[in-house]
Symmetry: C2
Subunit: 308 residues, 2 copies
Amino acid sequence: MAVLAVDVGGTKLAAGVVDDGGRLVAAERIPTPQPVDAEGLWRTLEALADRVLGGLPVAGVGIGCGGPMTWPEGEVSPLNIPAWRAFPLRERFVKKFPGVPVRLHNDAICVAVAEHWRGAGRGSSNLLGMVVSTGVGGGLVLGGRLIDGASGNAGHIGHVVVEPDGVPCKCGGRGCLEAVARGPAVVAWAQSQGWRTGSTGVTARELVDDASREHPIALAAMNRAGRALGVAIASAAHLCDLDVVAIGGGLSQAGPLLFRPLEEAYRAHACMEYAKGLRVVPAMLGQEAGLIGAAALVLAGPRYWSAD
Amino acid sequence: MAVLAVDVGGTKLAAGVVDDGGRLVAAERIPTPQPVDAEGLWRTLEALADRVLGGLPVAGVGIGCGGPMTWPEGEVSPLNIPAWRAFPLRERFVKKFPGVPVRLHNDAICVAVAEHWRGAGRGSSNLLGMVVSTGVGGGLVLGGRLIDGASGNAGHIGHVVVEPDGVPCKCGGRGCLEAVARGPAVVAWAQSQGWRTGSTGVTARELVDDASREHPIALAAMNRAGRALGVAIASAAHLCDLDVVAIGGGLSQAGPLLFRPLEEAYRAHACMEYAKGLRVVPAMLGQEAGLIGAAALVLAGPRYWSAD
């Protein structure tokens, strides 16, 4: 059985074919066209899917997409894709591939599912998968099953509060993990402290490079982000009794520059006996995770799809 | 089918008979004997169970007990019962009632189960049940099932971090919800601010009474506890996508003195669209919750017992 997997993000569109062993046997990736209108973007995605399939029959379609969205209906309004507001993405694939299951979930949830199914969380029954990048998202697997929550948003650790009187968050709250640890926030904080002041367009990648050269402000910025992650993970571990946290996304590429302060803060706050054995590990599947997790919604439905 | 339900706490022991409609048809409650040795306490509990049963046949036994414990094995070491350290409580009931299911869980988890099964969370699929009392505990029901986590400790919201540089917690961490909002901590904070300075043995009940008379320090203490609860619940709602939080335990009796600052803090921090519909409600079942939830481990096993 081969499944079409689709991953829709603000910067790239990807489509692939995943076999029932969870192997990505074909994949193609293109930049998300900008500017574009709703139908133009759909036609681009449809053509990408056709190309990667090459006429292969499809036993199902799994889709990961940036949020927010209605779930499980799959009308999507991705923050970083202004062309789509309440766009019926799942319905379009249902019409294109009638008679097979078509399942759609948040892209960060698909990454968490992939890491549980075939990646760093394999064998664990209680995992939080995280993506630390332009935003901070995630997905929760508890008791061996994907947890959806009331509206398909469970796992969204980006809005766990790490500092109640902290910096404002785009969500309207204060001191959310995402407001401190998302890439652009880490860069902005470093600049506010004097790092590359006056420069524009500097990236988290450059900040990490400077931190690896022991630039003190860049290092402080990474420490601040790592600590916020450690505090939020301690809260999640105490609340959900996790055994693995797998962290992917651009900023996680910083390695020990991020993971060392993270683990220090985790150890300082996760003091209940049951939380001490938690393993915090880098995600394993890289940019393939989104496609593999989307496919798992279909290929491993009993574990990862509760909505039928 | 009638089930023996047992609830073991540091201040009281309770036993009851619960029918399969979830009705508590008989119950008896006694103070936990202190001081006592391990076997003496067991004999007291056994006699209480025999008395409440009055020879009735038993289809199963459900037990709630203060933690920590090994789960699902049920060797208990309740913090407030020094006589029992790794006491094989579940095994004792297995020997006493051979051939029927005997299931044991944390007492706060039993309260959450009861509120989901027959109380304030009835009809919800995603509930956090909380007990705010001498400690702060809880239990999580997600996707309609009790979440156990890796070691049976899921739901323990008392150690969600609400203030990373906050007051030390007995667990060894800092700024845990429990360190701020458990009854004795609220009283201690009020005394540190000048409330009934020099008095000993003042209670949370007296603090609540003074707050209801608008004593400014007592009010400030309740506000501080309520805010900490609101922040922790916002984190839990964002992470787990809840639809109901049901709060019981002694301090929750304070009503609006606690719930008003709680809801203000919740609204300030729970700003993601999907978290706005959450209902925070008082628990409904009072002191019966522990027995009813313990019975539900047996009577509604498919939802509340995953360990067989």
